[in-house]
């Protein structure tokens, strides 16, 4: 499993871990039933706080990507297509909110954003 923590990123550390493990599950690099490293050993190996690691695992579990077997550790859940789609939709929504935020800073109208998007979309398709 690959995880790299960036100290310059604005993202909180637990979110970095969450995102990276999630991405590896979605891309199928971590397979169903595969064991994740224990919270404590991941924290110690990455030299980050145990509390932070625990929060990342808790979030992953809450969102259904992993499950815990008491006394055994954490494992990757069965890949649920609906769930992943849902997660993606949520993420896209977040980005869109960010676009709206940024646009309002420079007084960009909705129409202008949509036009920009259409152009970008066409370019990408070609």
């Amino acid at each position: 499993m690959d995880i790299s923590i960036s100290n310059t990123s604005e993202m909180p550390i637990y979110e970095q871990i969450y995102n990276q493990i999630k991405a590896q599950i979605m891309q199928g690099r971590l397979l169903e039933g595969e064991a994740l490293p224990s919270i404590r050993s991941l924290a110690k190996d990455l030299r980050i706080s145990v509390i932070t690691t625990k929060r990342a695992y808790d979030e992953l579990e809450k969102d259904g990507f992993i499950y815990t077997v008491l006394g055994k550790g954490c494992f990757v859940s069965k890949r649920n297509v609906e769930l992943i789609r849902e997660a993606h939709l949520k993420e896209i929504e977040e980005f869109m909110k960010k676009i709206i935020d940024l646009a309002s800073v420079i007084d960009l109208t909705k129409e202008e954003i949509i036009e920009m998007f259409n152009i970008l979309y066409e370019v990408d398709k070609e």
């Binding site: 310059t8 909180p12 637990y14 110690k44 030299r47 706080s49 145990v50 509390i51």
Partner: protein
Amino acid sequence: MNAIEVRNLVKKYPGFKLDNVSFQLPKGYIMGLVGDNGAGKSTTMKLIMNSIKRDSGVVKVLGCDNTSKSFVKVKEEIGVVLDEALFPEVLNAKQVNNIMKRTYMNWEEDRFFGYMDRFSLPPDKVFKDYSRGMKMKLSISVALSHKSRLLVLDEPTSGLDPIVRDEILDILNEFTRDEENSIVISSHITGDLEKICDYVAFLHKGKLVLCEEKDTLLYKYGIVHATRSEFGVVPKNAIVSKRETPYGIDALVFREKTPKTVKIEKPTIEDIFVFMHKYREENYK
């Protein structure tokens, strides 16, 4: 369970008061005490070991009230390192081993000599001929060689070179891989604490200013470098403290309260501590 529980601890010295300090360290975690000289770090450490008399308050260590008789037994499981390592000057490490064998019921001779090896400490040299770094390494070796479940470390990395400090941090990190083990550590080298702590507590003039999860703390605050006009958009309640120069403003801010258009850098523990104490006091002068 808590490894350390401190409640309303008070200790008065002429010109100094440790003022009603309370905090908890859950088992399996590392807490870093940060503070300027004379803030009360060493006093707190000594009170945790009950080696000086308190004026009031309660301290429980590994679940045991440290004024009770059974604390003597609990002390077996605590490894202590004070900022000045004190072994009799004429002893060498082999003799220290012999004394410790009779002091601690759970003394682990092999482990002790293992650390001596790892730290490349000469077993035949007498203590007074050790360098400061060697003395510290010897103390840490002793603290780790009697099946300790709690380490109380006062400035264990001060005066040591970066490589040795990193090695000590690795050993401490390794120690808490076992969730039964906990550490409370003080240091002026806040970078060291930043590397290993789960919790950070700030002491200033005898008062506990804050005690928080390290990563939460580092995310809650941010550093802004800006010109005066750029800084204008930062609301007053977002500013913790600031430093003004002829060219602009550096400030410690609450990340959440600062507008997203302002560029915020991630602070270090040192940034937070210095801004909170040094510049805040100057701001109010």
